[in-house]
């Protein structure tokens, strides 16, 4: 069980190995890795800076992890979210869920990403040829999170 908010990159293979080490009840791990895209809104993006609210970020991520564990039988969960300046191709976020069976792993991984996008206090500032701009929240993200409300 872990939530990490960090500037440094992470190694997906190392994290996956650490998550499952010695836990032979796990039958499957779902991993989602979010990356910085080189285009947004039809414009090239040269860099993205992630601002966050230290303290609240960890608290919110821990709360959504607890909610996922309440809903699915999970053997382990890992959420890593980076902050600071990132470039296209860089990893932003890792969500990994481990369970005896794949349905719980897949579903909870998606749930965590959907909730993280609408609850974790991060804000993206994109650098484009026309200057810097704050990324606006998408209604589709709210809709994705709302699917899990019941």
């Amino acid at each position: 069980m872990a939530v990490r908010v960090q500037a440094e990159d992470f190694d997906v293979g190392i994290e996956h190995a650490a998550l499952t080490q010695g836990k032979t009840a796990i039958g499957g791990v779902a991993l989602f890795v979010g990356l910085v895209r080189d285009m947004a809104g039809g414009q090239p993006v040269s860099a993205m800076t992630l601002e966050h609210y230290p303290g609240m970020t960890e608290k919110q991520l821990e709360a959504i992890e607890a909610e996922a564990r309440r809903r699915w039988p999970l053997d382990d969960v890992l959420i890593i979210h980076r902050h600071g300046r990132l470039e296209p191709g860089d990893r932003i976020v890792l969500v990994a869920t481990a369970s005896a069976h794949r349905d719980a792993a897949f579903e909870s991984c998606r749930f965590l990403m959907d909730w993280l996008k609408t609850k974790a206090p991060f804000w993206k500032l994109e650098a484009t040829p026309e200057g810097e701009r704050w990324v606006e929240a998408k209604e589709s993200d709210d809709a994705a999170a709302a699917r899990w409300t019941n």
């Binding site: 609210y53 976020v93 993280l116 609408t118 609850k119 804000w123 704050w134």
Partner: protein, 83 residues
């Protein structure tokens, strides 16, 4: 009361944090946002559209009718865009 601003609210207002002492009748988050607008033209501009000003009190998301207590940490920010 400590107020924190994030993302474009921070850049528009020009500070990341400030300490304020609102009068007792400012009893809810919504009333605080209205009261903060009067602090400067920058505050008024940044806080003009309440649809895009979200609030957390003591690091929990709250609606505008949430009551305030002395010593609360209040954060104002645009809708989040992580992930």
């Amino acid at each position: 009361m400590k107020i924190l601003y994030f993302a474009w609210l921070r850049t528009k207002i020009g500070v990341a944090t400030e300490t304020v002492e609102p009068p007792a009748e400012v009893a809810t988050v919504g009333a605080l946002v209205e009261w903060l607008k009067a602090r400067s033209p920058q505050h008024a501009d940044a806080l003009a559209n309440s649809k895009v000003v979200k609030v957390a009190v003591n690091q929990e998301h709250v609606p505008y009718d949430h009551p305030l207590s002395p010593g609360d940490e209040v954060a104002l920010f645009p809708p989040v865009t992580g992930g």
